[in-house]
Symmetry: C2
Subunit: 199 residues, 2 copies
């Protein structure tokens, strides 16, 4: 005997969550049905509300329930500083780290011609529109330190050069708490090349 | 800035799933909102349908969409053999292992007086009702090999003794693929005491 159809469908639907395989989905389904139907109902309603209510900020393109997100409408944010990132998750990460008081612009991923992701697909025209007539003085490129992220950063830098905007890239180097012995050569080379004078 | 309210609520609801912590819930929410809203809608609807449609089999008390589950209504199942388990997940596990062709009875957990789980709470009266006037000749006690599971098995055995039904307990011993060196003393003692003659 296998599962009854509704339970089977529930397990299949739970597998749509990232990182959830067949065993985990089965455990989740059983837990919800046997012990916590309220949590299942709560999850279902929260999903429906989020699907219906969460869109994208018209300006910075992060996930937002309102036309402009809370950061874009915050008057205490420095409008002369724009940080460019690859996804809304990166906005959350930078916000949680604290210390950045400018605004954001979120790309739809990174340049990857082999996957059909060109400048138009990742939102470069929208970025240029956003910069037109804005007060932005410096753009910080915070794409991921991967080959594609670097390529995207270089592409954006080349687009911004004619506009006379200052363009910077986040520092690459040894992460805090890391041990030199275990760090890859590329990162170490970056850390040496990007050394700062302390005395 | 933190998440907007709907995203916050979605993350909190995802944490209701077993084994999902704050970071995982955040990753799931972002994945669903950014990349797979169809999966989110599908999950929401599957949850609603399962909550509404899945109840318990009137006879064996496993999860079922119908009044009697597929096993209880299957005429090819041997009605003289009844396997007693602690949860619907155990039914699925035994079914997947194959080789058992009797029927089941699912307890609501195990005896645990400290948590207020007495014989009535785990469903002993329903089990006795189920046995009354049935064709059951042998009851197999397949509660978990834990202290509570053993206590539950012993309690049920003591209740069934006056009825003249044959009562057996699943074998405890060395699991297949296990190495003796790494197996606990209790299991090894059981394996030795329960040895079977092969020649």
């Amino acid at each position: 005997m296998s599962f009854s159809p509704l339970i089977r469908q529930m397990i299949d639907a739970l597998r749509g969550l990232p990182g959830v395989g067949p065993k985990t989905a089965q455990r989740m389904a059983l837990h919800l049905l046997e012990r916590d139907r309220a949590a299942a109902a709560h999850l279902s309603s929260a999903l429906d509300k989020a699907i219906a209510g969460v869109g994208y900020c018209r300006r910075c393109r992060t996930l937002s329930e309102t036309e402009l997100c809370a950061i874009c409408t915050d008057p205490r944010r420095d409008p002369s500083l724009l940080c460019i990132l690859q996804s809304p998750a990166d906005v959350w990460a930078v916000e949680q780290a604290g210390g950045f008081n400018g605004r954001y612009f979120v790309l739809k991923g990174h340049l990857s011609p082999i996957d059909g992701m060109g400048p138009d697909e990742i939102g470069i025209p929208a970025l240029l529109d956003c910069l037109d007539g804005s007060e932005v003085m410096e753009v910080i490129l915070a794409t991921n330190p991967t080959v594609e992220g670097e390529a995207t950063a270089h592409y954006i830098a080349s687009m911004l050069r004619p506009r006379g905007i200052k363009v910077s890239r986040i520092a690459h180097g040894v992460p805090l708490g890391g041990e030199l012995e275990y760090i890859d050569g590329g990162t170490l080379a970056h850390a040496l090349a990007g050394r700062t004078q302390i005395l």
